[in-house]
Symmetry: C2
Subunit: 237 residues, 2 copies
């Protein structure tokens, strides 16, 4: 039939979604470590054991939330992408999207970029979702390289083989200098976001948005991206 084994399957999907929603709510309120299966079930008016029909363990629930979080972040970053704009501006936009998402979902950010939950190792299922932002940044660098080229800093000889390996893996069409700088910038971006989010900037950096914008702009320059003619501190030509 059209609803072949549909009624049941649909109910299952709906309950699964309801569980994840409630879990996310508790995540935002309490944090990952205090996420309680029983509390989720209680709030949903079911008994805790019934929940195990949908998620075989607490860790599986966490995995689902992690993938959703990566995807949510990836979507937000991709939405801010604007492939028409110049690469420098796109880089800033993506970085700001990452920061904005992190500020909006601090506990989910902590879930994916904070300390790993002990005893829990993320399955490979999470990899594609986790890679989205990185791929976006690589794409921006690639466009810039196709355009005006990418001026990477010279590499010390001890790093050259590894840089070439990384570049071959990630973006064979880009110079190893740029890919290395890109990977470093990628990590450093999350250093900036994490410090703001986890309170390390408390009483140090107060007006954080311009600080962040400036910092990721310098990150972009480190990769070889240069601000467009209408941008940057230099007066318009």
């Amino acid at each position: 039939m059209s609803t072949a084994h549909g009624a049941r399957a649909r109910a299952r999907i709906e309950v699964t979604a309801a569980i994840k929603d409630e879990a996310r709510r508790q995540l935002a309120a309490e944090g990952a470590a205090r996420l309680s299966l029983r509390a989720v079930a209680r709030e949903l008016g079911m008994v805790s054991s019934a929940l195990y029909r949908y998620f075989p363990s607490r860790d599986d629930l966490l995995t689902a939330l992690i993938i959703d979080a990566y995807d949510s972040l990836g979507e937000r970053a991709e939405a801010a992408h604007e492939p028409a704009a110049d690469p420098f501006r796109r880089w800033i936009a993506v970085c700001e999207a990452v920061r904005g998402w992190a500020l909006d979902h601090p506990h989910e950010y902590a879930l994916i970029y904070g300390s790993p939950v002990p005893g829990y190792t993320a399955p490979d299922t999470t990899v594609p979702a986790a890679a989205r932002v990185g791929l976006l940044l690589i794409g921006i660098a690639r466009d810039a390289h196709r355009g005006s080229g990418l001026a990477g800093p010279s590499l010390p000889s001890e790093l050259r083989p590894e840089a070439e390996r990384i570049a071959a893996d990630l973006a064979p069409d880009l110079p190893p200098e740029a890919v290395t700088a890109l990977v470093a910038a990628w990590a450093q971006l999350y250093g900036l976001v994490g410090f703001e989010l986890f309170g390390q900037f408390h009483r140090v950096v107060e007006d954080r948005e311009p600080f962040f914008r400036h910092a990721v702009g310098r990150l972009a320059r480190g990769v070889g991206l240069v601000p467009g003619p209408t941008e940057g501190a230099a007066p318009g030509r």
Copy 2:
């Protein structure tokens, strides 16, 4: 007596240290979230309630471990300092000390720089210990500034007031450009360390030591530090 009110006090100190040691052992084995007061007590051959005579709550135990971790990191960084060397080399040394400590104590690193334990907010007691590495980096920048000066990147006008405020707070004798770059580099350093430690570099960066050295070298340049005459592959500009 010579041991005035000593016997008891000394026993207290010893038991407190034993508790922290065992807690640290469990931290390394299981992670902060799985740190169990009962398990610590069990391993020490005492009953769980007795442990509350030494730490009024699990959070207080965590706080003690956090302060110890900050101090341990700070000591290691300070030990690597070598005030005689030139600032660029000292910067690299401190950064590598931070990374080395993090690799040696991943769970303690996660405790202080990873996602905050939910429901737990670090008391102000932790601040001085937490500031040690930052102060070290500021000191290096100061020495460099006293020497050959610090060439900071120009700041956008939107950031200037905040940059001046930060500089006035942290290092009034340094140019705001340099202090801003320093704070950003400080955060970015922990982005690099965290990504390596938390597995984000898995199958991306393999030969991590030269990668890290190169990245923190570029961080140093961003602050205005330049490699000494015997250092750096790039011809100084």
